[in-house]
Symmetry: C2
Subunit: 241 residues, 2 copies
């Protein structure tokens, strides 16, 4: 029997996917969380993902952390290769105009495809992502149009269990960061447990964010606009790798 | 600059992908081969893939074998789980009527997505698959319609390098097995180096095929129809795992 109130949620450990998961949980979805270790330099986000999953009441068995080591060997992104410079101190309004070096080849395709695999294996037809359009990073393979096209493709390729429709649910897709933060706070999300920075490093028990990458800048502006307190530890002393 | 005569070819080590690669090479494509270890019980096909790549003059550096270990842990297929029975001794005309247990959840999505990742990293926009429709296994995510839909999706999500069109080239898509075998022989393909069987095992220096799974039956019938000699070693003594 199809589990209509079960969902696979893509959980990076960042703000957006955390709030998307919290919204889904609040709406009654039983979550299986899916995170990826693809050689990202900020793999510390996986610790955040574990904390978030625990906070959401998801058991360890229902939080799958999948190794995609090959993505680092493919390279081509400043998220996996220190030799490729990461954009810094850009104006938020300039982001999204081009595809930044933090774009990881094929990542959007791969993440959704692995989610499809897990969902099919578990007889689930809902996938949840925290993709948002207004304050997105300019990645074409996590845009609304892309995800809608992918969902359409599932009508052809995703008929293993039955012909019922798939739902790739994007609760944040039309929200900006401030709205996402307010939504998260209203649901009790502890943002101190989330990691956003592309160059986040551990320092003792703390995670330090660089404060200069696109992800940090969007987070900073989001908190400023929302009027909420940002508990992120930013360190100008953090050496940009 | 876009490498218009370079291609990423999905190479399983079976007949179809081998012939597709040989056709592409004959047409002047410079090939980067991509194979997957996803926990398939017939991982011996990867040895075949290596032999085939070598036979095609592809260097070791240009043959990427990618580990997708998570697919075995997801399960849900008789190709990765010995507890799930594999269809045996079916009539060829009955295949394709339903989705058999050898279907691997999400596999078609994942294989193409990883090919996209590699192609984007290498600045290539041609992907070659050996999918064929007339004698296919009944997998919805390797059908012509699916691949065409996937190609369409690349217009949205695959614009990292430029806006030029992608080409997912399926040279065998309308061919039956006999035609594929004849095409391969005309190009000098050594079919003894290919491994088709879902339960292939190594026995000394030989690979033994079960002779009873859908893949074996399609191969057998293909050779019979083509009038060519099948050098595959079939063993009724092979214990079905």
């Amino acid at each position: 029997m199809l589990n209509t109130k079960k969902a696979v949620v893509l959980l990076s450990g960042g703000m957006d996917s955390t709030v998307a998961a919290a919204i889904a949980k609040d709406e009654g979805y039983e979550l299986t969380c899916l995170s990826f270790n693809y050689g990202q330099l900020h793999a510390i986000e996986l610790e955040a993902a574990k904390n978030v999953a625990e906070q959401l009441g998801v058991s360890k068995e229902n939080h799958r952390i999948v190794a995609l080591d090959f993505m680092k060997t493919f390279g081509g992104s400043s998220l996996v290769d220190t030799d490729i410079p990461l954009p810094q101190d850009r104006k938020v309004e300039d982001m999204g105009q081009d595809i930044p070096t933090s774009f990881v080849p094929g990542r959007g395709f791969i993440f959704l495809s692995v989610a499809v695999a897990l969902a099919e294996a578990l007889n689930i037809k809902t996938i949840i992502t925290g993709y948002c359009e207004p304050d997105a990073g300019g990645y074409p393979d996590s845009s609304k149009r892309f995800v809608q096209g992918f969902e359409k493709l599932l009508e052809i390729g995703g008929v293993r269990n039955d012909n019922s429709p798939w739902n790739i649910y994007m609760p944040l897709i039309d929200m900006d960061k401030a709205a996402i933060i307010r939504a998260g706070i209203s649901l009790g999300v502890d943002f101190s447990k989330t990691v956003t920075c592309y160059r986040a490093v551990k320092s003792g028990n703390n995670v330090l964010a660089c404060g200069h990458c696109d992800a940090c800048l969007l987070r900073k502006e989001g908190f400023l606009d929302s009027g909420e307190v940002d508990t992120t530890l930013y360190s100008d002393d953090t050496v940009m790798r």
